[in-house]
Structure formats: C-alpha cells, structure tokens
C-alpha cells in the first residue's frame, strides 16, 4: 500500500503538472483568438473564466472594450478599415483636424482620397487605389479568420484535455466517485504454480507397484492426488496426513499378516507390503510399528486373512477404514470404523468376496474372542457373533437363522443379506459349535470331536481349500488355546463328524495325549 500511495503521490504531481500545461495552452489560444477577433470577445471571456477557474488566470478578462479601447482586435480593426475605404473616395477632399504631434491638432484637408498606401508586410508598401486596398483588406480578413478558427480548434482540444486531466487528478487523489478496480492475479498465479507443484509432489508419495494389493492402494492415492490438485496447499497437507494414517493402517495389517503368515503366497504379498512399510513415512508409522510388535505376539493367531482383509479395505476405496490401536495390557480391541456402514456389514461383505481364498489357523483366547467377534473374515465369525451370554460368557449357538438367535443375539447388526453367509458358514461353524456343545453334554463325544477339529489342521492343506473358520473359545484358558480349525462347509455335520471321527483315528495317536489333556481340562473347567 505504501508503494501504491507513493505512486499515487507522484502520479498526482505529474497529473497536476500536466493539467497546468494544458491550461496554459488553452490560455494562449484564447488570447490569440481575442487578439484576432474582437466580435467574439464576450464569448471567449466566458469560456476563459470557467475552465481556468482553478488556474492562476493571467489574462484576466478585461472589461468590455470597444473601438476606443486600448486593445483593438484585429478583425474589428479590419472591419472598420473596410468601412473607411468604402466611404473615403466619396469626396475629393475632406476637411479634417490633422493630428500634429501627440498633443495638437491642426485643421487640414485630406486629398487624393482614392490613393492609399498599403502595408503589404515586412516593411513593404504598395500605393494603390481604395478598391485595390479593399481587395488587400479582404484578403487579410480571410487570413485572420482562418487563424482564429485554428486557434479555437486547438483551444477546444486542450479544454477537453484539461477536463480529462482534472478527472484523472480527482481519481488519483481519490476525491471523486471513481473507484479503481484491481484484480490481484498473484493468488491465481500461486494456485497455478502450486497446482503443478502438487502434481509433482504426489508422484513421490505414490507407492511403487509391487503387488495387486499395492495397486489398489495406489489407485486410491492417485485419486486423492488428483483431487488434491484442486485444493489449496493446506488441504493438501491435511490430505497427506490422512494418507499417512491409511498407510499406518496398511502397515499394521501388513505386520499382522506377516507375523501370522504361514503361506508362501502370503509372503510375497507381505514382503511387498513390508517394502511398502519401508516407503511409508517412518515418523508416522513409527508409532504403528511400535504398536504392532506388542500386538503381533497376540495377533499371531490372527488369520492371515487379515492380509486379504486389507485387500478388501483397499477395494472399498471410497470409505477409509481405520484401525485404532491402543496400548493396553488387555488384549487389544480392534475397532474398524468404516465410512459407510457398521463394522459387521463391512466384514460380512468382504467375507463373501474372500471366502474361498482364506487360509488360516487361529488360536484364540477369551481375550481375543471379543476381537474376533468384531473382525469377521470367515463365515465362522458370523456365528461367533451370534452368541448367547450364559454365566457371563458368550456361548455359541447351534443355529443363527432361528428367531431366537436373532433376538438374543449379541450381534447388533443383522441383515438378510448375511443370511446366505450364515447358511454357508452354518455348516462349517455349526459343526464346531455343535462340537462344543456336545462336549458339554457328552464328554466322550466331545473328546473325540474336540480332537477332530484339532486333527483337521493337519489334513487341512491336503484335503481342503484355504478357507478355515475360527472357533470362539469360551473358557478362560488363554494360554491353553488350542488351534481349532474347521474344514470347509461342504459336508453335513453328521458326515463331518464321522470323518473327523475317522481322522482322529489316524492322527490322534501322536498328539492324543497332549490334546486330550488340554481339551479335557477345558471341558472340565466348563463343567
């Protein structure tokens, strides 16, 4: 503003000077016109007064002076002269009072009235008759009039200029009603510049394409990057923070899946995810990493489907699932906040997609049961949610399709869409639960049945696909959590029971003593 003010002052000075110069020219023109033209004296006087009001009027308009006046206007003079020339040759001689010096007059006669010595200009005279003189006079009149017209034209031009300059003066001095409209193009320029910068900045942030898992995440980031191009820098930083949080999420999942990984397939993705971890901002992820290791031990039991779940999260795209970790001695409780829906729905949907892919072995303590409840990766998880609370402990149900189950279910969210899942998982989960339930009722069966699921994992890889369910551990034996896996739900419960009864016949001899003891202990505790 200071610079602008200074400019205004300078400009103002220049404008004032310009105005004065213009007005000088106008004055000069007017004076010349007045010199030439007597008849328009009155008119020009008026004109003289108005525009020159502000200026120091040098040629102050004199009072009206006619022929007797000191200032004789040329055109007026010439007009008078013409008259004289016409009347002069009327008489041969005139009796006149001849001026004799400056103070005296003498009576005399005016002779040779027709002979006139006319000044041609530049000290040249010509003797001629009155008529010829008349011609000369006319000639000169023409010249004078042309001069006057030229002068008046220039005067008008300069008067217009004076008006403009006056307006400019008023504008620059901000006295008038004129307002200067200015647009700062700096902002837009910066935005344009930052647009380019933003685009460039996003490229290093985007993760290298290492895996399909990463590709999905990249898409999200690129989408966000393109979105950012239209926002300001501050929004960009906020967005970057969000992305970093997402990366945190991803990294934690990766850590968990890495720890729980038993498969060659997972290692590839996990290694790539590990690399991704390395790419992510270490400062931001440091916290996540610190959180991850302590939880890794406990989450070692978690399904490797967590990796798959990450894929699911990435596939979602629009909603940003975030996982919040808290450092507690108690088993970690993971809350998944999805942008769209509740947790349950989200995981159920993902279950449908990833149903066939998952492999997993899990062991869960009661502490993890809550965690497992909220993290549905398999149809089994659904059944886990549908639990009855007996004696303060969640008890799995036999069937979740029954109205009773839905009424008393711990699970808050029930949807018809999940019914299909239930049917799928029911067979698988039902078995496990039925196993569990039977353990209560029938110890012998329970023993064998409990054995069977434990034996199943041995044959899991050979017999069935990757999918495996998880069973909720009801009893307070966190350390003694055995790995319970359930085979895919292709077979009816009874058949599977038979199979499992057959299977353990083969397997149990090796592990029988240990397993028995554990399960027995559990069963005993239940009872």
């Amino acid at each position: 503003m200071a610079a602008k003010g200074k400019m205004n002052v300078e400009h103002l000075g220049g404008v004032a000077r310009l105005r004065e110069e213009h007005q000088k020219v106008v004055k000069d023109c007017e004076s010349r016109i007045l010199h030439w033209d007597f008849t328009s004296l009155r008119l020009y006087r008026c004109v003289q007064l108005d525009p020159l009001r502000r200026d120091k009027v040098q040629c102050s308009s004199p009072p009206r002076k006619q022929f007797t006046g000191s200032r004789k206007k040329v055109s007026g003079d010439y007009e008078a002269l013409t008259e004289r020339l016409q009347t002069l040759p009327d008489q041969l001689s005139y009796d006149i009072m001849v001026p004799f010096g400056p103070l005296a007059f003498m009576p005399g006669k005016l002779v040779h009235t027709n002979e006139v010595t006319a000044l041609l200009g530049d000290n040249w005279f010509a003797k001629c008759s009155t008529k010829q003189a008349q011609k000369i006079v006319d000639h000169r009149m023409k010249y004078v009039k042309s001069e006057i017209s030229d002068l008046s034209k220039t005067m008008k031009n300069f008067e217009a200029r004076v008006g403009l300059v006056r307006d400019l003066e008023s504008i620059s001095s901000s006295k008038g009603d004129y307002v200067d409209i200015r647009e700062d193009t700096e902002n837009t320029g910066d935005i344009a510049v930052t647009k380019g910068k933003q685009r460039i900045a996003h490229k290093p942030n985007s993760k290298p394409k290492l895996d399909a898992v990463l590709d999905l995440k990249e898409e999200d980031e690129e989408k966000e990057g393109s979105r950012k191009c239209t926002t300001t820098e501050e929004e960009l930083w906020a967005r970057l923070d969000e992305l970093e949080k997402q990366e945190e999420l991803q990294d934690d999942h990766d850590r968990l899946s890495y720890n729980a990984n038993m498969n060659g397939e997972d290692t590839s993705s996990l290694s790539s995810e590990e690399e991704k971890e390395g790419d992510a901002a270490p400062a931001v992820n440091g916290l996540a990493h610190s959180e991850a290791p302590p939880s890794s031990g406990r989450k070692a039991d978690e399904e490797a489907a967590a990796a798959e779940e990450d894929d699911d999260e990435e596939e979602e795209g629009s909603c940003l699932p975030t996982i919040f970790f808290s450092h507690t001695i108690e088993p970690k409780k993971v809350r998944i906040n999805t942008g769209k829906n509740t947790m349950l729905k989200f995981s159920e949907r993902k279950e449908q997609k990833e149903h066939s892919k998952r492999k997993n072995k899990n062991g869960h303590s009661n502490g993890h049961s809550h965690h497992e409840l909220h993290k549905i990766t398999t149809p089994v998880d659904i059944y886990r949610l549908f639990v009855d609370v007996k004696n303060g402990e969640p008890v799995p149900r036999k069937s979740i399709l029954k109205s009773r189950s839905r009424e008393n279910s711990v699970c808050s969210d029930t949807s018809e869409s999940s019914a299909a899942d239930f049917e799928e998982g029911r067979r698988a989960v039902g078995r496990s639960f039925s196993h569990d339930e039977t353990t209560q009722s029938d110890t012998s069966d329970g023993v064998t049945e409990e054995e069977s699921p434990t034996a199943v994992p041995l044959h899991r890889a050979s017999r069935f696909e990757a999918f495996s369910g998880t069973v909720v551990e009801k009893e307070p034996m966190p350390s003694a959590v055995p790995y319970l896996t359930i085979s895919p739900p292709a077979l009816p419960t009874i058949l599977e029971r038979k199979q499992e009864e057959v299977a353990p016949d083969v397997a149990p001899p090796q592990q029988a003593p240990k397993r028995l003891s554990k399960f027995k202990a559990a069963r005993l505790q239940q009872n």
Partner: protein, 126 residues
C-alpha cells in the same frame, strides 16, 4: 567525498542550465523566422495581385523608398528563400542542442544518485 560530489553536481547543473538556455534561444529564433516566413508569403501574394500602375515602397528606417514592382517581387522571393534556409539551420542546431542536453541530463541524474548514496552513507556513519 560527498563534498566533491556536490561540487561536481553543481558544475554539471550549471552546464545543463546553459545548454537549456541555448536551446530556448534557438527555439525563439526559429519561431521568429517562421512568422517572417508567413508574412513574406502574404507579401508575395499581395504583390502578385498588384499591377504595374501602383508604385511599391519599401520602408527603410524612416524613409519610404520607391521600389519597382518586379524588384519588390524578386526581393520578397529572395527573402523568403533566405528565411527558409535559416529555419532549417536553426532546426538542426536545435536537434544537436537537445541531444546534448539529454546526455547532460542523464549525467546529472547519475551524479545525483551518487551524491545521495554518499549522503546516505555519511548519515549512516554518523
């Protein structure tokens, strides 16, 4: 340092004013010539209008000297040419003077800046 600069500046300013005077002189002379030119043009026209019957006088001092019409015409024409030549000469002179004055003006401005800097330094030192 500042004083020397100041003296130098003054000298330069004087030179510049002289130059400006020359410029204005030549300008006024040129204007005079131009009016004479205009007048002589009128005289020539008038003389062309006249015929031989009327005598032509030239005013030399307080004396009106009789002149021949033809001579008058010739004289006027010559004068006219002379005036034209003078005007051209003065024009070229004016151009040169203006160039010189511009150069001098630049020099003056640079000197002024130096002087201001020196003054600023002096103030800073003090």
């Amino acid at each position: 340092m500042a004083e020397a600069l100041q003296k130098k500046l003054k000298a330069e300013v004087d030179k510049f004013t002289l130059m400006q005077k020359d410029v204005s002189k030549s300008m006024s002379a040129r204007q005079k010539l131009e009016t004479q030119l205009a007048e002589n043009n009128i005289v020539k026209e008038e003389l062309d209008l006249l015929d031989t019957t009327n005598t032509v006088y030239k005013l030399i001092g307080p004396v009106l000297v009789k002149q021949d019409l033809e001579e008058a015409k010739a004289t006027v024409t010559k004068r006219l040419e002379y005036i034209n030549g003078e005007i051209q000469r003065y024009e070229s002179l004016l151009k040169d003077l203006e160039k010189k004055s511009d150069q001098h003006r630049e020099l003056l401005s640079s000197l002024q800046q130096e002087y201001q800097k020196a003054q600023g330094l002096a103030v800073g030192k003090v």
